[in-house]
Symmetry: C2
Subunit: 398 residues, 2 copies
């Protein structure tokens, strides 16, 4: 019998408790033993709740109980999630989490502490919700050279963009709709300004390249400025607008990370990732392009990913856990300037005049503005060619 | 230092040898030790080959050498691949393979033998080429109830169907093109008649449900009869024609498996899987829909998947391998009749008259034939409604 503690009885924590009850038999078969939730830690009052007897307010109850071998940190935010997690690891308890903020901010410290204490720190649910992406990057792709990762990592923004395409809504209308459906928070800025996406790409980048960069160093642009004209032009150029997180290794060995809306052409597998779904496109030197697609959020899907981590830990409990990856914290000196990336650009300028030198294919004139797609170029060259034009929109192609 | 043997120095075996040389440093970092190919077994003559000194003709050399701990079976076909694999497992050597035929035909025996000898039998490359699908099904999804798996599992047929869509070619023209590009064999029947796809869905079904069914029991229809009219009608109904392998659990606890061309609507993530790519859509009760997408074949991509299996084995070598899944061989008594599946159908009949009772939406009249899409129904009801019509084409929707 393995005893675990769930810290935080909110949305995901509640989903985990529900799912572990529902799949009890499957879990016991997979783990080779029963798995029981001994404590649920939450500072709120749950008097009268059916699980009242398991609920405790003080995390120290868990910390001091040697019977608890796995802690599921389902709190969210940096503190006290970090403090509880590191204390649990130091006490020789395995920790699983769905908390991208704590992994992005303190991942290297938590992984090092896990390694020092011969326990696991797993976070499959922190990126891509239900999608198994952390484990494939750690295991299936670890002996390949990862050339790049491109991802649609935030369900809320992808829902809004999909709604703008298929219902012709403005950003504000689509955001209201997402709120009404419970897909967007009252304060949507972590989603629509790309902050959540940025944390997730920093984690994927660390898994691919071993270095975790602070989110603040990553150029991050959200989707607030996307207009119906951008969306309809994208369709006109055979593409769709998506909030794309990108990490890649440059030819001089630096890492380039960015979060921005991009035009995704129809032949790219991310093109058709709709609604609240996420898609993560990994380009490996040997394996080529791989895409992982699924529900990026949601109570039960995310809990399913947390549960997979718990089961993995228990399966390996009487032998040796795989050693945690070693991350170092990176600074701006090893980070390439995202503006130097060469790509095609979608541009829109006032008037009918266009910079013929850099245009590839047709242009679209409507409502006093002309839009076009450029050949592959860099930002410096683009800005040179656009001197003298009043630019109203500019997005990179993936 | 870990010593391995590669059995079969053909396309994939050669790719594995090349990739292991190229990624030597990454592999050593991941495994925590050097990994060396001690033998390459092939009955052909490689006099003068740079690796001549490693090449041996007799598999018994490998079997009798206690230094070899991992055997990569890259032969293909049932025999001697099965015989070599089981002998290696009995000798306490781990075995990895990309051979779907041997896994589909003898998987339960090989896994049992692996378990009895405390070694691993891994076959990530046998389904979906470079795509990590076996490991996610075994690990990330093992504690979820798998409702269904739908897959585009054969690159050759998907290339042919894509070419029919985008170049307007006939089946024969598209097949010739695929041959010229090296995507189709001189005898293409294993691909175009769905045999390869059938073996792969039997393996995925066993991973999802624990029972491996003989391919002969699975209704299997290839793509030889797909016409340009089918393809253009699919577009007219907002869908694309794909060779879809399906396995699911029915409400009475049986397993239903089928391989057939199906119409895939645009909102399904498999719709946009093009060319030689594969896509595998797994529907789990907790995690919802997940899709895994990537190169389903190719020398280096497939070798990359084999390498991931080798690295996994070596990482766990000084502790305990995860126990192999337990499969039982199933018979027709637990297999549901695939004809009883309810679905929408695409139908085409001679003339202008259509069975109004079962039609959903528009119909398309051209060249003396009328095509339409039905409401969800079963085959018995469909055939009743189509009595008196001359049916020229009939495919299920996914």
């Amino acid at each position: 019998m393995i005893k675990i503690a769930v810290i935080g009885f909110g949305n995901i924590g509640g989903g985990l408790v529900e799912l572990m009850e529902r799949n009890k038999t499957l879990i016991a078969r997979d783990c080779g033993c029963e798995v029981d939730i001994k404590y649920i830690v939450d500072i709120r009052d749950f008097t009268g709740h059916p699980l009242e007897k398991k609920i405790v307010k003080d995390f120290n109850t868990v910390l001091g109980d040697p019977e608890v071998s796995v802690v599921a940190e389902m709190i969210g935010g940096s503190h006290p999630a970090f403090d509880f997690s590191i204390a649990a690891l130091r006490a020789g308890k395995h920790v699983v989490t769905s908390n991208k903020e704590v992994v992005a901010n303190f991942g290297e410290v938590l992984l090092k502490t896990a390694a020092e204490n011969n326990v696991a720190y797993l976070f499959e649910a922190a990126v891509g919700g239900a999608i198994p992406i952390i484990r494939p990057l750690r295991e299936s792709l670890s002996s390949d050279n990862i050339l790049a990762v491109n991802g649609i990592l935030n369900g809320t923004t992808n829902y809004i963009l999909t709604s703008m395409v298929f219902s012709g809504k403005s950003f504000d209308e689509a955001l209201s709709e997402a709120r009404a459906l419970g897909y967007a928070e009252a304060d949507p800025s972590a989603d629509v300004d790309g902050i959540d996406t940025c944390r997730k790409i920093c984690i994927l980048s660390a898994l691919a390249y071993g270095t975790i960069y602070p989110s603040e160093l990553v150029p991050t642009e959200g989707i607030r400025n996307i207009t119906p004209r951008d969306v309809s032009d994208a369709a006109g150029f055979g593409a769709s607008v998506k909030l794309i997180a990108n990490t890649r290794k440059t030819s001089d060995g630096k890492i380039m990370i960015s979060v921005a809306p991009r035009f995704v052409p129809a032949e790219n597998p991310l093109y058709n990732v709709r609604d609240v779904f996420n898609g993560i496109l990994v380009s490996g030197e040997a394996v080529g392009d791989l895409m992982f697609y699924g529900r990026g959020a949601g109570r039960i899907p995310t809990a399913g990913a947390v549960l997979a981590d718990i089961v993995e830990i228990i399966k390996h409990m009487d032998s040796k856990q795989l050693p945690p990856p070693v991350w170092v914290r990176g600074g701006s000196e090893t980070l390439a300037d995202a503006a130097s990336e060469k790509s095609r650009f979608y541009c829109r300028v006032k008037g009918r005049r266009v910079p013929d030198n850099i245009i590839s294919g047709k242009h679209i004139y409507s409502d006093g503005e002309t839009s076009f797609v450029t050949v592959e170029t860099d930002l410096a060259e683009l800005e040179k060619q656009l001197a003298g034009y009043e630019v109203t929109a500019r997005y990179r192609f993936i």
